[in-house]
Amino acid sequence: MMTPLEIKGAMVAVITSAVILVATFTAGGFYRTRYETETQPGAKPLATENLAVKGRSYFLQSCAHCHGRDADGGEDAPSLLKLQISSAHMALVIHSGIKGEMPSFAKKYNEQDLAALVAYLKTLH
């Protein structure tokens, strides 16, 4: 069986791990809430509306020729209506692209531009 030192070590290990995981999830949750609030339609009506308008112009410029002007899909690209993924996930896909299917827009759009695109995509729900 385990020695007293091992049991003590296990207790310290479990507590440390739990504290770090709770801190991680708290920080992550806080970050996500802030990001979702910034890109949520209706949260800050004017700011978000402007962001979505800006996002729509980026969409027409870079995405519409594959995904369609109304984002309802094209011959080679799927519809973006009613996407079931989070804002962060949308930003990640636009940022990184999809190998062999969709180019990365990391060099073309910065973080604010991505937030605008995401805000627009969320209006399509």
């Binding site: 069986m1 385990m2 030192l5 070590g9 791990s17 770090i20 990001y35 804002s87 962060a88 999809i98």
Partner: protein, 142 residues
Amino acid sequence: MIPWDKLHGAMTHFPIALLLFSTACDFVSVMLRKLPFARELRSVSLYALAVAALASLGAVISGIALSKGDLWGRGDFGWHHRFVWPAFGLLVALAVWRLVVREAMSRFGLCLYLCLMLLASGLVAAAGYFGGELLLSGGGVP
């Protein structure tokens, strides 16, 4: 602006490599315990594990920043996280336990520790696999 994608890519490889290396050192030192450097191997595995746990903090922080705090998600993104969080928790716990116990391990403690190291290695490898898929598929949208 901080390039979190590049930072995350750079930081994740340290804990992955160090954990696998530490596990390998532990197994070699146990299987070949009569080797003159078996004790040194155990020390190397201890420090590799401690550095892996520290490095995993950087990997997790850069990952949270990259995913804008989305800690679960769907598709490959979700699978990456389903393996990352248990791996991270287990890695930290194993490193702390090992630093407390050091060489004073019972036979049962050593067996349990080795099993958990194998489990952590498997979880980290799976998290790394889905992380790589995310990079190749750009988010793995289902």
